[in-house]
C-alpha cells in the first residue's frame, strides 16, 4: 500500500466518544436556558457588590482620615503641654536665681 492509501486508511472519520451529541445539546440548553431576567439579576448583583465595595472603601478611607486628624490633634496638644511646662520651668528657674542673688 502506498503512503497516500495508508493516509486515507489512517485518517478515516473516527467516531466521537459516546454521548457526544447529548453533551453538546446540554451545553446548548445551558447557554439558552439562562433567561434574560437571570442575566439581569446577575448584573444587578454585580452592581450591588461593586456599590458595597465602594462604600466599604469609602468608609475605610473616611475612618483613616478621622484617625489621622485625631492623631494630629493629640500631637499638637502634647506639644502645647510641653511648651507650657517648659515655660513654667523657666519661670521657676528665674525665680530661684533671683532669690539666690538677693
Amino acid at each position: 500500500m502506498n503512503l497516500e492509501q495508508q493516509l486515507r486508511e489512517a485518517l478515516r472519520r473516527p467516531e466521537p466518544p459516546a454521548g457526544f451529541a447529548e453533551r453538546v445539546m446540554g451545553r446548548v440548553a445551558q447557554e439558552r436556558g439562562t433567561p434574560p431576567r437571570e442575566r439581569t439579576s446577575r448584573r444587578r448583583r454585580l452592581s450591588a457588590a461593586a456599590a458595597v465595595l465602594a462604600l466599604a472603601l469609602g468608609g475605610w478611607g473616611g475612618y483613616r482620615i478621622e484617625q489621622n486628624r485625631r492623631a494630629e490633634n493629640a500631637a499638637e496638644e502634647a506639644l502645647t503641654a510641653l511648651r507650657i511646662a517648659s515655660e513654667k520651668i523657666n519661670l521657676a528657674r528665674e525665680n530661684i536665681e533671683r532669690h539666690s542673688e538677693d
Binding site: M1, L3, E4, Q6, L7, R8, E9, A10, L11, R12, R13, P14, E15, P16, P17, F20, A21, R23, V24, M25, R27, V28, A29, E31, R32
Partner: protein, 181 residues
C-alpha cells in the same frame, strides 16, 4: 450517510434554523464524526478534540441563522474547526501524542495495519499545524486542493507546498521507524 438521510438533510437544516433543538441535535449527530475527526487528527488528543468539537457546535448554534444551505454548513464546519485546530496547536508549547490516543475511536480495517495507521496519526499530529490541517482535509475529507485553499483562505500554491512538505515528513519518519526495527 443513507440516501434517506441525505434527502432529509435540507429539511433538518431548515428546522434547526428555526430554533428546533431536536433538528439541531440531528445536525450535530450528522456532522460530529467529521468535526471530531478533523480535531482529533490535527491535535492528536481525544479530550482536546472533544472540547474543540463541542465549541464548534456551540458556535454553530449561535450562528445557525447565518448559514445559507447544507453545503454551506459543511464548508463552515470544516473552516471553523480547522482554524480552531490551527490556533489550538499554536498555543500548545509541546504536544504529547500517545499511540493509544491516536488509536482510540478508529475501527481497524481488514486490509490495513492498525499499528501503522496509529503511527501515521501520531506523526500527523506532530506536524506544523497548517501541514496537519491540509493533510487532514485532503485525506480524511477527500477535498480537492482548490477547495482546501478556499476553506483555509490561503493560495493554492501554499496548499500544495504544505501538502508536499507534510507528506514528505511523514514518509521520512515512517521509513526511519521501519529501518530502526
Amino acid at each position: 450517510m443513507s440516501q434517506a438521510a441525505i434527502r432529509e438533510l435540507p429539511l433538518i437544516f431548515a428546522r434547526a434554523g428555526t430554533g428546533d433543538d431536536a433538528a439541531f441535535a440531528d445536525l450535530v449527530r450528522e456532522h460530529q464524526s467529521m468535526v471530531f475527526g478533523i480535531a482529533l487528527h490535527s491535535l492528536g488528543d481525544r479530550g482536546q478534540a472533544e472540547d474543540l468539537a463541542q465549541e464548534v457546535f456551540l458556535q454553530l448554534y449561535r450562528k445557525i441563522g447565518e448559514i445559507e444551505s447544507p453545503s454551506h454548513l459543511i464548508h463552515w464546519l470544516r473552516r471553523v474547526t480547522t482554524n480552531r485546530c490551527i490556533d489550538a496547536s499554536r498555543r500548545r508549547r509541546f504536544r504529547l501524542v500517545s499511540l493509544s490516543d491516536a488509536e482510540e475511536g478508529h475501527s481497524a480495517s481488514p486490509e490495513g495495519d492498525p499499528m501503522a495507521a496509529a503511527r501515521i496519526r501520531t506523526y500527523l499530529a506532530e506536524l506544523p499545524p497548517k501541514q496537519a490541517a491540509v493533510i487532514t482535509l485532503r485525506f480524511q475529507e477527500e477535498m480537492e486542493l482548490s477547495e482546501i485553499a478556499r476553506t483555509l483562505d490561503i493560495p493554492l500554491n501554499t496548499v500544495k507546498s504544505h501538502l508536499r512538505r507534510g507528506v514528505e515528513t511523514l514518509r521520512r519518519r515512517l521509513e526511519r521507524r521501519r529501518s530502526e526495527r
